[in-house]
């Protein structure tokens, strides 16, 4: 497993305490998991995703990541309606291990853009990990 200083935590996205990230892409927001999350889980073998059209509130569980040793729930960093899922992950869940910030999981139409500002910056997220 990686040391904290080895983690890749890019700026320009918002992080949650549950290790998801959110990136604003025009009208929509893409959601994935952090380098820390994929590293902790190990080889990811299955991604359970919601259906397009499902609506969730911030903090709701929207799916699960299954690795060879554990299962972890995914929680919404912001409220909104699912407008797309990354179907590449159905056949290649390992993309999350290879490129956690490229391998987005769902794309939502946020119901409140203001929620983005409540997320952690990369520096604040690293502070969280340092405890």
């Amino acid at each position: 497993m990686k040391e904290l200083e080895e983690l890749h935590l890019p700026d320009g996205i918002g992080y949650t305490d549950d290790h998801e990230w959110a990136r604003i892409t025009g009208e929509t927001v893409r959601i994935g998991v952090s380098d820390y999350a994929q590293d902790q889980l190990g080889d990811i073998v299955f991604v359970e995703m919601p259906a397009i059209g499902d609506t969730f509130a911030k903090g709701d569980e929207f799916g699960t990541l299954e690795s060879v040793k554990a299962v972890s729930e995914l929680y919404m960093p912001m409220s909104g309606e699912v407008v797309a899922i990354n179907s590449d992950l159905l056949d290649s869940p390992e993309l999350i291990n290879q490129d956690p910030y490229g391998a987005w999981i769902i794309e939502i139409k946020p119901s409140a853009n203001s929620e983005y500002a409540q997320l952690r910056t990369a520096a604040a997220y690293l502070d969280l990990l340092k405890g």
Binding site: F46, E48, E66, S67, K69, A70, V71, E73
Partner: protein
């Protein structure tokens, strides 16, 4: 054999470590009214020969002996158990092995369970079958919970009233403490479930049994169309898997989840247990399947091997989010059913199912010829409901005196069917027995 592994010295050492003197001190936190104070009222120990005598005497007091002809099914079926099954299942490698907690050490057990899963999947027409559940009733309750997990936002399930009453009682026991609601569907005059009376669109899943408790073969294909059109999952349940030797299997009829009792396959009735919960589903639902699952794989050298797979569904990994809190299986019963299916083969199961069906038709015709009425007109497999023109109890008593148990009185299970009887005819019932029954009905 001693079942307590600790010696008095070890117990004393452990007590000393926690700072106590006696075992009584250790249990002091348990309220006295919750503790047993009187010793067990057990008789003195017997010698082996005395014990044998005692058991022989008890066996002699049973109403049913080895010569009794039993025409009662209702969820527990009197089938011949081939000697191959008895002798293989009695081997200590299978019989004394517990559920594998260090599974990959027990390749033989895993292979046996994998073969059971494969044969059961073929019989039921399912993509995946688990390593088994406790019995048919708990399997149905688990199937309904699985349906609720898959449907996510729905909170109701529907079960047919033609499902075994004991199964429905177990379903109620499982779901009663939850926020989920169980709706029961009436049966029609022909003995099949009526899907028209209830708005199904609220239901996560709809469960039917076929053949149902009355022996009636449900029209699973048209039920599947109705259930799926309403956006629900279809659960097909059974008490008599032998029927699928003859009938189109539930998977082909469109069922999403299939579950039921496997006792018919080489397992003695044994006063009602242990049973075998058979459980399978279509592939897209695999990650919601309860119970253990054995998979086939290759080792580092490319040799075939068996593993417990998809274990992340189970409670030792997923904790409270597990698909079930059953993390065991009916190992020896599943193994036995696998041996039974392998012993008979596809052709044997088909022939045996045909024999059950034909014999049942013979008794049905004989009883109608003797003046009885068949209240449910739909086709049946090896059970059927009979209505007699006069009180059947005297004839049933005369038949009991001839060591024939003629049918099950339905009064207690279905008060609206009071006075009717449920008959079951398996391969073990001869023509002479059926003729005797018809003659007593006529008399």
């Amino acid at each position: 054999m001693r079942y307590l592994p600790h010696t008095p010295e070890e117990i004393a050492a452990m007590l000393a470590t926690v700072g106590l003197t006696t075992l009584e001190d250790l249990f002091a936190a348990v309220p006295t009214d919750c503790r047993m104070t009187d010793p067990w009222p057990l008789p003195a120990a017997k010698s082996e020969w005395e014990l044998n005598d005692h058991l022989r005497h008890l066996a002699g007091t049973m109403g049913v002996n080895a010569d009794t002809k039993v025409l009662v099914g209702a969820g527990s079926y009197h089938h011949h158990i081939p000697e191959t099954v008895r002798s293989l299942a009695g081997r200590s490698e299978f019989l004394t092995a517990y559920t594998p907690y260090q599974p990959e050490m027990a390749q033989g057990t895993l292979q046996g369970i994998f073969e059971y899963q494969t044969l059961t999947a073929r019989l039921l027409g399912m993509d995946v079958v688990n390593a088994s559940m406790y019995d048919g009733a708990s399997a149905l309750a688990e199937a309904l919970l699985m349906g609720l997990r898959i449907a996510k936002k729905k909170t109701k399930v529907a079960v047919s009233k033609a499902i075994h009453p004991h199964y429905r009682a177990v379903v109620r026991a499982y779901l009663q403490p939850t926020a989920y609601e169980v709706v029961e569907l009436d049966y029609q005059e022909n003995g099949r479930t009526d899907l028209s009376g209830v708005d199904l669109s609220d239901m996560a899943a709809v469960a039917l049994q076929s053949p149902n408790f009355f022996g009636v073969i449900e029209d699973l294909e048209s039920a599947s169309a109705t259930i799926h059109a309403a956006g629900c999952l279809m659960i097909a349940c059974f008490t008599e898997p032998l029927a699928y030797g003859l009938l189109k299997n539930p998977g082909q009829c469109g069922a999403d989840i299939v579950c039921g009792e496997g006792q018919s396959f080489g397992i003695a009735r044994s006063f009602g247990g242990p049973g075998l919960g058979m459980f399978g589903c279509r592939e897209p639902f695999t990650r919601n399947l309860p119970g253990r699952l054995v998979g086939e794989t290759k080792d580092l050298e490319g040799r075939r091997g068996y593993v417990l797979t998809l274990a992340t569904r189970e409670q030792h990994i997923r904790r409270e989010k597990a698909t079930s809190n059953i993390c065991s299986n009916q190992g020896i019963c599943a193994m036995t059913a696998g041996m039974y299916m392998a012993s008979l083969g596809g052709t044997g199961i088909r022939q045996l199912a045909r024999l059950n069906y034909d014999k049942t038709q013979y008794l049905k015709d004989a009883l109608v010829g003797a003046g009885a009425r068949i209240p449910f007109a739909s086709p049946v497999f090896n059970e059927f409901v009979v209505e007699f023109s006069q009180d059947f109890r005297p004839a049933r008593e005369r038949l009991l005196a001839k060591n024939i148990v003629a049918g099950l009185e339905l009064d207690a299970l279905y008060p609206q069917l009071a006075g009717r009887y449920l008959f079951c005819v398996t391969e073990t019932i001869g023509k002479d027995t059926m003729d005797t029954i018809a003659a007593e009905v006529r008399a």
